[in-house]
C-alpha cells in the first residue's frame, strides 16, 4: 500500500557516503564544494552521512590501491540495499596517470559494479551535481524493482 509513496520518496532524499581509495584529493574537494552555500546540494535532499550503514549512494574517488582494496570491498558490502555506486573523476574509471604503478590494482569496475561515472579531472561541481542527480534516479528504479 505504501509502496508507491516509498518509491517516490527514495528519489528525494538520497544520503551520500564518500570513500577515498587512494585519490589525490582533488575530486574530494569538488565533492564537498557541492555542499557549500554556492552550489547547495542539500536543496535536492542530499546529505553527507558518517557511516556506510546509513548511506544510499556511495561515491568513490581515486584508483583502487593495494592497501585499500580489501577495505573498500568490505565497506561497500556494508551498505544496505538498494544502493548506487558512483565513481567520481577519471581515476576510478581508468586509473588516469597512475596506470601501471606498483601499488595500483586497477580501475573500480574490476572489483565493484559501478552505476554512474562522472568524468573529469577534477569534474566541475555542476557535473558532480548532475552525476548525483542521475544516481538518485537510478536509485528510484532499483527501489521500484526490489522485492
Amino acid at each position: 500500500m505504501f509502496k508507491k509513496l516509498i518509491d517516490s520518496c527514495t528519489e528525494k532524499s538520497p544520503w551520500i557516503y564518500h570513500i577515498n581509495s587512494g585519490s589525490c584529493n582533488g575530486c574530494d574537494i569538488e565533492l564537498v564544494a557541492v555542499l557549500t552555500p554556492r552550489y547547495d546540494a542539500e536543496r535536492l535532499g542530499f546529505k553527507l552521512v558518517g557511516t556506510p550503514r546509513h548511506a544510499d549512494i556511495v561515491v568513490v574517488s581515486g584508483p583502487v590501491t593495494s592497501q585499500s582494496r580489501e577495505r573498500l570491498i568490505r565497506t561497500i558490502e556494508q551498505v544496505p540495499d538498494p544502493k548506487v555506486v558512483v565513481s567520481l573523476g577519471s581515476c576510478p574509471r581508468s586509473c588516469n596517470v597512475f596506470k601501471g604503478s606498483y601499488s595500483v590494482e586497477g580501475p573500480l569496475d574490476k572489483f565493484v559494479k559501478v552505476d554512474v561515472s562522472v568524468a573529469g579531472c577534477a569534474p566541475k561541481p555542476e557535473a558532480v551535481i548532475d552525476g548525483l542527480y542521475k544516481a538518485a534516479q537510478i536509485l528510484k528504479e532499483k527501489r521500484r524493482n526490489m522485492k
Binding site: 532524499s13 542539500e42 546509513h54
Partner: protein, 320 residues
C-alpha cells in the same frame, strides 16, 4: 476510571501518535530550513524529514553478527513509545487527556527512557564507535538531569505555595495557577529558571553544540553507527519528537494560562510558539557554535545552568 471511547482518539490522533509525529517532523524540517537560510543557502524543503522517514522505511535492515537481535531491534521502539506516553501527559492547547497527582515525577522518569534506549541500542551494536558514543551519552544524561529537576521543582513549588501552601507535582495545578495569576514567566523570580530551561532544551534533544553522543564527523555517528532501515527511521523520529516534547513542556510550564476559546486555534498558536522556541534555542546555537567537548558540556550544565535554576529555587523558597 471508566473507559471513554474518546481515549482512543486522544491516544492515536491528538495529541497522540499522529499529531506528535507530524509536529515533530515539521519542527525538524523548519529547523533545517532556517539553519540553511542562516548560512546563506537555500536548504531542503520543509517536508524533507517526511521524505527521509519514508525512504528509511524502504531500506533493508541489517543486524550485525555480534548484536543480540531482540535488544537491537527493540531499543528504538521502547524509546519512541515512552515519548508518545509523555506527549499524552503534557497539557497542549488546554487539553489534558490523562492526568494525575504526581505528573512531574512521572515526567522525569519518562524523559530519561529515550536516552537510555539510545544507550541500550548502542551497547547492543557491538561496534567500538558505539562504545565511545554510549559513554558520551551517559555523561550528557547526568549533566542535564540536575538542572532539569531543579527547574521542575521550582515551578512546582511556586504553584504549590499559592494553592496549598506546600508543593504540587501536578501539571494541571500549574495550569490552574497560571490561569489565575498570569503566565509563570511574568513573575521575575522565575526568569532565571526559564533561561535555564531554554538552555536545557538543546542538550536534551541532542542538537549541534551539545551532540557529543551522536557526533557525525568524529565517531561515525556514535551510537547509531550500525543501524539501518526501519530501526534507524524510528530513532530519527524519536529525535524529532523530542524537539516537540521539550518545547511543548516549556510552554506548559511557563507560558500557560491564556485561551481563545477554540481548541483548534489554541493548538495552532501553541505550535507557532513551539516553532519560535525551536528557532531560538536549537537553530541559532547550531549555526553559531562548534561542538562542545564532553568535559565542557558537563561543566556548563553543572555550573552555569544549574546555578541559574538554583537562584530561582532559592528565591521561590524565600517566598518572592
Amino acid at each position: 476510571m471508566t473507559f471513554n471511547p474518546m481515549y482512543l482518539f486522544y491516544i492515536l490522533v491528538f495529541p497522540g501518535f499522529l499529531f506528535t509525529s507530524f509536529a515533530g517532523l515539521l519542527l525538524a524540517g523548519i529547523d533545517r530550513k532556517v539553519l540553511a537560510h542562516m548560512q546563506k543557502r537555500i536548504g531542503p524543503p520543509i517536508t524533507q524529514p517526511f521524505y527521509d522517514f519514508m525512504k528509511l522505511m524502504g531500506k533493508e535492515t541489517i543486524v550485525p553478527d555480534a548484536a543480540p537481535k531482540a535488544v537491537f531491534l527493540g531499543a528504538p521502539v521502547i524509546g519512541l513509545i515512552s515519548l508518545f506516553v509523555t506527549a499524552l501527559l503534557i497539557p497542549f492547547a488546554g487539553l489534558t487527556p490523562f492526568y494525575g497527582i504526581a505528573d512531574i515525577i512521572v515526567l522525569i522518569y519518562l524523559l530519561t527512557i529515550p536516552a537510555v534506549a539510545i544507550i541500550i541500542g548502542g551497547a547492543a551494536s557491538g561496534s567500538p564507535f558505539s562504545g565511545v558514543g554510549i559513554s558520551r551519552e551517559m555523561v550528557t544524561i547526568v549533566s542535564y538531569e540536575l538542572p532539569l529537576i531543579l527547574v521542575l521543582l521550582t515551578v512546582g513549588k511556586k504553584a504549590g505555595m499559592a494553592l496549598t501552601g506546600g508543593m504540587t507535582f501536578s501539571l494541571i495545578d500549574i495550569s490552574a495557577y497560571q490561569a489565575q495569576n498570569g503566565m509563570m514567566i511574568t513573575h521575575w523570580a522565575m526568569i532565571p529558571a526559564a533561561i535555564a530551561f531554554l538552555l536545557i532544551i538543546p542538550g536534551e534533544v541532542g542538537t549541534q553544540p551539545f551532540d557529543v553522543a551522536e557526533a557525525e564527523t568524529e565517531i561515525c555517528e556514535g551510537t547509531m553507527a550500525e543501524y539501518s532501515g526501519a530501526p534507524l527511521a524510528l530513532f530519527e523520529l524519536s529525535h524529532s519528537v523530542k524537539m516537540f516534547i521539550m518545547t511543548a513542556l516549556f510552554t506548559a510550564l511557563f507560558l500557560q494560562g491564556w485561551t481563545t476559546g477554540i481548541v483548534a486555534l489554541d493548538a495552532v498558536i501553541d505550535l507557532a510558539i513551539c516553532i519560535l522556541l525551536t528557532i531560538i534555542t536549537m537553530t541559532l546555537p547550531h549555526a553559531s557554535a562548534a561542538r562542545l567537548k564532553v568535559e565542557w558540556l558537563f561543566r556548563f550544565y553543572w555550573q552555569i545552568v544549574a546555578g541559574l535554576a538554583l537562584i530561582s529555587l532559592i528565591l521561590v523558597w524565600l517566598g518572592l
